[in-house]
Amino acid sequence: MSPSAREKLLVYILLAVVLMLFMTPIYLIIVSSLKPAPDMFSRPPAFIFTPTLQHYYDLFTMRPFHLQIMNSLIVAFGSTAFSLFFGTLAAYAISRIRNRWTNQIAFWILSMRMFPPIAVVVPYYIIFQTLGILDTPLALIIVYSTFNIPLTVWLMKGFFDDLPEALEEAAQIDGHGVLATFYYVTLPLTAPGLAVAAVFCFIFSWNEFLFALMLTGSNAQTVTVAVMSFWSSDAVQWGRIMAGSFVILIPGVIFVLTCQRWLVKGLTMGSVKG
């Protein structure tokens, strides 16, 4: 049943309204980051203006934003590597040993991701202070991994479940052990899953704010906390806030544009098949 011309028109009108509502804030971030300060709140809004890179220049010269980007990258890559290692191994075990125990463990792991961060921020603060790793990237790598390991486990479990076990059995008959089979047969075949899990872990860590705010100071400050700090200074630096926001939203946007079909699986924890 193909829609009539009138229906098509209606669909496009509705779509235009929806797109306008949902894209305006993103448009504002980009445009405001390029607007000269006097035009920032001009009435009517200045749709045509002379774009300036001043805010981006300020962002990197008046504040060590590149150091904060560095911190965010270290934390995000560190936590991603950590979570992929532990998470993939656990996912394999849960996928291959199917009994009541592994099922229980799988749900326990998933529930770890869903606990409210604010509830554990004080204990983390005290523990890290005792260990002397407060305000270091390591502290955030550990904390983010508690969220990223469960995500990796559930994503990779789905990929391992879909892999025919006959492939592994063939390798085992050839005399390879469990670890060798996993490393040489299973992992290469589930490489797309690893990539998806890695990107999710990375973006979660990159975007996180609450733990970064509480557990870092000047030394290990990440980009989200840095951008928020432009707000708390005496005059609100909207240009720099928007320039920083644009830098922060780049990884997420690239992810959506390149591999949106994995979003369903990753964000619904497998409760909806993409």
């Binding site: 993103i26 529930s111 409210p116 604010i118 204990p123 704010f209 989200t224 951008v227 959506v256 964000l267």
Partner: protein, 312 residues
């Protein structure tokens, strides 16, 4: 599976013995590291929070001994007006965001599954808000709501309405936060619903249409019942997230004006870091953990139901 008496292996034969020892090896080498890791990094802090919740502890004065106060912190949390108010505010916000996200999200899903030129791109663009850091979402909405300067009131004025004191009045602040959350997470319901819609078989719809039912009838009586398990799972995921909401409120209102947007997370934050009463904060954390465990359990049940519904 208990790996008990070795004699049972003989009865089950060598193949089974091989399977059991292989499983045990996988369990030890593969599962144990993650379990130990998660246990140390999540259960230990929670136990610590539990320990704190029975004590009087001021983080700003670390050398004062942490005195055992029994259940006093819990008594205060459970009987105090501010905690109850925070709980009500949390669920109010949850009700506002979930209801709008459900209706709008399903509507948008029906829109973006139309096979028309340009639809794939539109659908992709609509997913972007979900991947934006909640702090950035808060900041851009702050830009829009900003008193005197924000563009939202300018456009509302153009249409002929009075300016709205979005984040400065107790009447509107919670709505302002709900709008920002709705903007970010409606695409989530849209995405999940669209994926589920496309995996539904086409025949029942065509049959129902040929029988002369209106489009609305088909949607209400054929589509919606089939979508129900998935929608319930999606809503529970949103509910769990809504219960934890922190970043957007921290940026927009910090719980104010006059506690009107103080949800559970903000209450815990204020007790712990404004009043430095870590014990009370920890007790409130534990009460909120109990509530989230209930939500998570309900989600797991709905998830198993929706998975078996999709497997059919």
């Amino acid at each position: 599976m208990t790996a008990g008496a070795g004699s049972s292996y003989i009865i089950e034969g060598p193949a089974m013995r091989h399977q059991v020892s292989r499983n045990r090896r996988i369990a030890v080498f593969f599962l144990l590291p993650a379990v130990v890791m998660l246990f140390v990094t999540t259960i230990y802090p929670m136990l610590y929070a539990g320990w704190l919740s029975f004590r009087n502890y001021d983080l700003a004065k670390p050398f004062i001994p942490r005195i055992y106060v029994g259940t006093a912190n819990y008594a205060e949390v459970l009987t105090s007006q501010p905690f109850f108010h925070a709980l009500v505010t949390t669920f109010k916000l949850m009700a506002m965001t979930l209801s709008v996200q459900l209706v709008l999200g399903v509507g948008m899903a029906l829109l973006v599954i139309q096979k028309l030129p340009g639809m794939a791109l539109a659908r992709t663009l609509l997913l972007i808000p979900m991947m934006i850091s909640p702090v950035i979402v808060g900041l851009v909405w702050l830009f829009l709501y900003f008193p005197e300067l924000g563009y939202l009131n300018y456009f509302i004025g153009l249409v002929g309405f009075e300016p709205v004191p979005w984040i400065t009045s107790t009447k509107w602040a919670l709505t302002a936060i709900a709008i920002a959350d709705i903007w970010q997470w409606t695409p989530f319901i849209m995405m999940g619903t669209a994926a589920a819609l496309q995996s539904l078989p086409a025949e029942p719809f065509e049959a129902a249409r040929i029988d002369g039912n209106s489009r609305l009838d088909v949607f209400l009586h054929v589509t919606l019942p089939q979508l129900k398990p998935v929608l319930i799972s999606l809503l529970f995921l949103r509910a769990i997230d809504a219960f934890k909401i922190y970043d957007i409120i921290f940026v927009l209102t910090k719980g104010g004006p006059a506690d009107s947007t103080e949800v559970i997370s903000l209450y815990i934050y204020r007790q712990s870091f404004t009043f430095w009463r870590m014990g009370v904060g920890a007790a409130a954390s534990f009460v909120s953990l109990v509530i989230i465990v209930v939500l998570i359990t309900l989600f797991f049940r709905s998830m198993q139901r929706s998975q078996s519904a999709q497997a059919r």
